[in-house]
Symmetry: D2
Subunit: 159 residues, 4 copies
Amino acid sequence: MKHVLVIYYSRTGHTQEMANAIAQGAQLAGAQADCRSVYDVDIAQLVNYDAIILGSPSYYGSMAADVKKFLDSTISLHGKLRGKVGGAFCSSARVSGGNETTLLSILHAFLVHGMILTGGTPTYPYGPVAIHAPNDDATREECLAYGRMIAELAAKLSP
Amino acid sequence: MKHVLVIYYSRTGHTQEMANAIAQGAQLAGAQADCRSVYDVDIAQLVNYDAIILGSPSYYGSMAADVKKFLDSTISLHGKLRGKVGGAFCSSARVSGGNETTLLSILHAFLVHGMILTGGTPTYPYGPVAIHAPNDDATREECLAYGRMIAELAAKLSP
Amino acid sequence: MKHVLVIYYSRTGHTQEMANAIAQGAQLAGAQADCRSVYDVDIAQLVNYDAIILGSPSYYGSMAADVKKFLDSTISLHGKLRGKVGGAFCSSARVSGGNETTLLSILHAFLVHGMILTGGTPTYPYGPVAIHAPNDDATREECLAYGRMIAELAAKLSP
Amino acid sequence: MKHVLVIYYSRTGHTQEMANAIAQGAQLAGAQADCRSVYDVDIAQLVNYDAIILGSPSYYGSMAADVKKFLDSTISLHGKLRGKVGGAFCSSARVSGGNETTLLSILHAFLVHGMILTGGTPTYPYGPVAIHAPNDDATREECLAYGRMIAELAAKLSP
């Protein structure tokens, strides 16, 4: 059984809702999925996961400062995340106000860690994006599909 | 009077409609604005413009090949576009399917040319994006506003 | 045995040299590796490969127009590359003149295809970059290591 | 007289050295230039500057968390930086280990603020990058030239 960690930073609850749906999607693919606020992640535990999916609202075109603080702190286990699967998701107030660059700021960090990425769904190739509230069915379906894809990739990599 | 050139590549007509609205916005700011297909641009004429705004549909996360071909051909006047204003716009089939990375692929090229960029409207900080057809009023207003901003910046730079 | 295709666009021979070293690295990992100019790729054959690694010089901050033309033409088999491994490499005249954005312009396209990416070596996390000529030993080692990583990932994904 | 603010985050002193050279370049162009650590910036004072140049080491492919924290805090004066000139610089341990994406993470934020950007020098079109220590003459010259360019652009925009 694969272990997937979904980490979110959420002030309005939107990013957290996305995180829950992504974790649920991973479970549908047979993985055990934990869902944690960025403040509740024990860095030392990251090595126990097969996949790490990180979500942030879009603040000035990249991840929120507290999400970056978390990522910068993973330097303590640099090299130990190599080969794990990474994913990103983003909530945004606007259709094209920096959500892709926010997703990519997370994916770049995972590439520096030597992690494995996958193109997302046809609608959201860099990862799911919710404009305003993510409580519509379409966004929820996208999050479920993405969580499933990440978990299936983790399973493929170490069956 | 400032001279603004809006260049587009359009297969469905959507990017061309955006180009027309952007050119009209530039005219509202007192500029003379020409609107040309990427196939109809005389590279040698580029030096006669104060601002160049380039639009493309989003193909695989960056500008269409024919737009890149045009940009690569501007090597013949490398250094001569320095200090001119640059802008980008994009039409896309999907909300977050590569439209920001497409805009940025154009803006990066303009930075390599030493050109001047401006943040766009609050809704589209990297440049206007039209999802599907741009014939709705909101997208048209965004394009008008962007054209106006670019023309006003060009006027400020060489009054 | 995994099949890896290394595709390059090279005017000075530098990108081709990198391609050869990357293909050799893939072979060291037990893969069969083909090395082709972007003009000699039969699009229909792409589906027969487990991994596709695409290299370009950095022209105005993204891949050369002829490389984009190749990528745009892969629309004819859209959906059929999903799950394959993708990689990128770049030759550049300058240390920081657009080589990362060039690599990323290729990686974005592979994400839109639904392909799998991996962080590169510690030195080149987005993919190997050669500044000027790649004939020094360090660059060659980086290319070998990258080819090996891509081939090993392809093998892991479908053992 | 134009006022330029150079802001840096520096743990090893490299980014600070770059900041000093950039500020000196701005002074050579006739501007008054202040140089401040990201911890010593009074957000409310930002509106008094004509140009803001922000530098960070490259941490996991984007600006350091403390730099992002500063940028996120500028939300309190959102809209009031529109039309000011922005610039970015970066120190990095490696030639191509995320320095361009770090510069761009800063430039994206400035675009969201509606600020004006300029392509840098031919060597560093997105902004100066120092690999390892920036105390060599070439890097220093690049920083001087960039500071001068930013100050000259600010002067052009409001003579």
